[in-house]
């Protein structure tokens, strides 16, 4: 079957490679993205609070807008301007609503919503100029259905959905696609600290009877970045049946 080069993901640099910028690249879903994209021939820049395995590893904080902009510019010079942005940086915490302090609530918003906004701001001018680009924001099944003791996390992840849907509508005509991936409970260090998700009874309660693997989330992002060319403003949710 004949395929559009764009759909095959080969419209990047002259050597055929494409470049990606991944936040939260050092662990969990971000780390799986770095290895999956690299395996498939992408040149990957990764930003995290600690060093990552990305070809270009930048230590930085997504809440630092200037630092993020600088990192994207460095990545562009080293690897070519990003064809793909994936925002995977995040923190998870659980607390009853009345125990969440304003500072803790704000921190969730700063990292998830603010971090995603900062990253989009950094890559968008170039993508719009090139009239080509793909942004995938990692959100969560908790943004779709919420859960007890997760108000701050779910609110921050939920806000990303509104951002993605609006930005998608705004830049679609300019050739830039914006989507989100809302994973279900995924086997990552972030979730390891929360024993209820490690309880075998929890996995047994899911239709799939197991948690999601970081690799499966990475494959979903890769689909959106390559062949999912008519997807924009969408939320794909590999969630093991947690939210249907």
């Amino acid at each position: 079957m004949e395929r559009d080069a764009r759909q095959d993901g080969r419209d990047g640099r002259s050597d055929g490679s494409r470049s990606a910028f991944v936040t939260g690249a050092a662990s969990g879903i971000g780390a799986a993205l770095v290895s999956t994209l690299t395996d498939r021939g992408w040149r990957v820049a990764g930003l995290d609070l600690q060093e990552s395995a990305a070809e270009l590893s930048v230590v930085g904080d997504v809440t630092d807008a200037d630092g993020l902009l600088d990192a994207v510019q460095r990545a562009g010079q080293a690897l070519g301007p990003p064809d793909l942005l994936v925002t995977a940086a995040g923190v998870f915490d659980q607390a009853a609503f009345e125990d969440i302090t304003p500072a803790e609530f704000q921190r969730m918003l700063d990292i998830h919503l603010g971090g995603t906004v900062n990253a989009c701001r950094a890559v968008l001018p170039g993508m719009l100029e090139r009239r080509s680009g793909c942004i995938v924001a990692i959100t969560s099944e908790l943004a779709l259905a919420g859960s007890e003791r997760s108000a701050h996390y779910a609110a921050a992840k939920g806000a990303i959905l509104g951002l993605v849907r609006s930005l998608a509508a705004e830049v679609a005509a300019d050739g830039v696609r914006v989507n989100s991936v809302a994973p279900g409970p995924t086997r990552t260090p972030m979730l390891d600290r929360h024993p209820e998700y490690q309880d075998p009874a929890y996995a047994a309660s899911l239709p799939l009877r197991r948690l999601v693997s970081p690799q499966e989330v990475a494959e979903t992002v890769l689909f959106l970045a390559t062949e999912g060319t008519f997807f924009t403003g969408q939320t794909l949710s590999p969630n093991a049946g947690a939210v249907i």
Binding site: A172, P207, L208, E219, F223, T232, P238, N239, G241
Partner: protein, 254 residues
């Protein structure tokens, strides 16, 4: 991890032309033996079968006996179906008042009951084989509705609910059920819609594109690529999900 359905048997309903045909071609290109279903044994169907070295699987999906014979035939020759794509559908536009009951029922009989018929016949073999993938082709109109498309939209909405229920029901048995709700796709249906509206094909495309942020209709290849994703191991954590390749026309839950 990306695993193509090489060596597998696929069944695509309503596949002699349009989106179904391109889905059949894509699965065949990935190495699957494809049973190409349509209602009648036509030259169109034979040509598709021949060009992808597939097998002909003639049956009206609304006719349970025909479906049973078709599935039994495919299984006897090639073994159980691992990937089932329920694509066969009818779409007749018209206001609710002007459409006679038989038009209403054709949407329900073919689109909803036809899907049920094929799944129920394929499922025992799929289970015996240790699992499988079912991809149901719904429609954006199953969520948004559309004037002069009440019967069609109701049927597609029914398929979305069927996908969610069956997704929950079958995931424990390693059968993954998901749906694709395409937006407006540049398929032979657009010519039918243009004739219905009394305008040219290009004008019909332009009229649809106004509502699509991407500024264009989708391609049949883009739908086939989404099917290929849902048929692969890469989508192993998708259960009862509705994927919406629609160019941004609907940016919320299905």
């Amino acid at each position: 991890m990306k695993e193509t359905p090489r060596g597998t048997v696929s069944l695509v309903t309503g596949a002699q032309q349009g989106i179904g045909e391109v889905i059949a071609r894509r699965l065949a290109a990935e190495g699957s033996l494809v049973a190409v279903n349509d209602r009648h044994d036509t030259e169109l169907l034979s040509a598709v079968v021949e060009s992808i070295q597939g097998v002909s699987a003639v049956a009206d999906v609304a006719d349970r006996e025909q479906v049973a014979r078709m599935v039994a035939g495919v299984e006897a020759e090639h073994g159980p179906v691992q990937t089932l794509v329920c694509n066969a559908a009818v779409e007749v536009l018209g206001t609710l008042l002007e459409q006679p009951p038989e038009v209403w029922w054709s949407h329900i009989d073919v689109n909803v009951t036809g899907t049920y018929n094929v799944i129920q016949e394929v499922l025992p073999g799929m289970r015996r084989n240790g699992g499988g993938r079912i991809v149901i082709i719904a429609s954006i109109w199953g969520t948004t509705g559309w004037p002069r498309a009440s019967g069609y939209s109701a049927s597609k909405s029914g398929l979305i609910a069927l996908t969610r229920s069956l997704g929950r029901e079958l995931a424990p048995d390693n059968v993954f059920v998901n749906a694709i709700a395409p937006g407006i796709i540049d398929s032979p249906q657009i010519q039918i819609d243009a004739d219905d509206a009394g305008i040219s094909l290009d004008d019909m495309r332009a009229r649809y594109a106004v509502d699509i942020p991407a500024g264009r209709l989708g391609t049949t290849e883009e739908i086939a690529a989404t099917v290929a994703f849902l048929a692969s191991a890469a989508s192993g954590a998708f259960v009862g999900q509705i994927l919406q390749p629609n160019g941004g026309e609907l940016r919320g839950p299905a």
